[in-house]
Symmetry: C7
Subunit: 70 residues, 7 copies
């Protein structure tokens, strides 16, 4: 199994995405590519314990991502 | 669906673009490429809650982008 | 022997992964690729001696990794 | 339309280029390439509100650029 | 001679590896690749004069390396 | 015209090269490549208004360069 | 002439290598490649005016290099 296949198993499920610089997102994983660019729906952004809901899709750039966790 | 296809659905619609370093933009997405270079029109730049309107197009370099949201 | 072959010998074993920025993970190595993207299961995240268990898989982005150790 | 085509429309017109690290340039866009390396003529460099005129051409390295705006 | 050939001569010998961010390693070089990813055995990690021995192999990611010395 | 062609016009002429981190160089441009690696002769290095002359050639690594100006 | 050819003329001669982060090296250039990875022999490392001699070869990773000078 390769890491991207493991990510495939999280499609359409809620994931936690930790970003560089202390920002994180929780949302449903709707799409990904080989750069780890991700699309989340129903996402919440968390910075310093402040939660901001996002409407619609949120596209996260892969090179700002530290880890992805269910 | 791939992330760039999700971005395609935001073409000609208003998006929020969060950049590295605490800068963000709101504007109409007029173009994008596979590096996530973006062109916004009718853009507003926000740094530390100070809003600066941009006339004409604004080209954002993809590698400074953290996320794109409607 | 190449470094990725050495990593192969750690598959399904517990590893320590030190990340940039003072974060580290302990978990079972379930997958890796040539970018050093890793999938850990039963992972624990450690930041400043505070331990957070992760359920399910955790995908670590290779370019945030400093070293991997058994 | 792709972002580089949008940039083509700014050729031989004045643009504002915001660089990483708080530096910006105003000048006439004389050339660009796919890395967003730019050549400006009649450029002014602005750092912390201090303006320095440049004679001749100024070549800006693409990976230091945050955005380009008319 | 190319740099990677010089590295070949250090195979199975003790090397010092200086990493970005003030971390260094001493250990026996067991493997390397063209990205300068390295595998050390019998490694000791040194951060701010504090020495931590590593058991088994340690895989160092090439892009965190500043220099390698015998 | 492409940016590298504009650079070609500066060959064997004095240029100012601004580097990341507050360092700059003045010297005669003797060579360049597509990464913007540059060779200067008769170069002076300037850091915080302190000028250090360099004898012989100085090779500047392209990815540390912010801009090149005559 | 290309920058790497200029570097070829420094082979087996003493060079000064300035690294990112305030570290520099003086030594004899024994090898280089297209990434500007370098091998120095009889090298001295200088950090904050403290000089440390290196025995044997020292391999410097190209992407930590700012400039190379005779």
């Amino acid at each position: 199994m390769k890491p991207l296949e493991a990510l495939h198993e999280s499609l359409h499920k809620r994931v936690l995405v930790e970003m560089k610089g202390g920002r994180s997102f929780r949302g449903v994983l709707d799409a990904y590519d080989q750069h780890l660019n991700l699309v989340l729906s129903s996402a919440e952004e968390v910075v310093a314990e402040e939660v901001t809901p996002h409407s619609g899709m949120t596209l996260l750039r892969g090179d700002s991502i530290v880890y992805i966790s269910p």
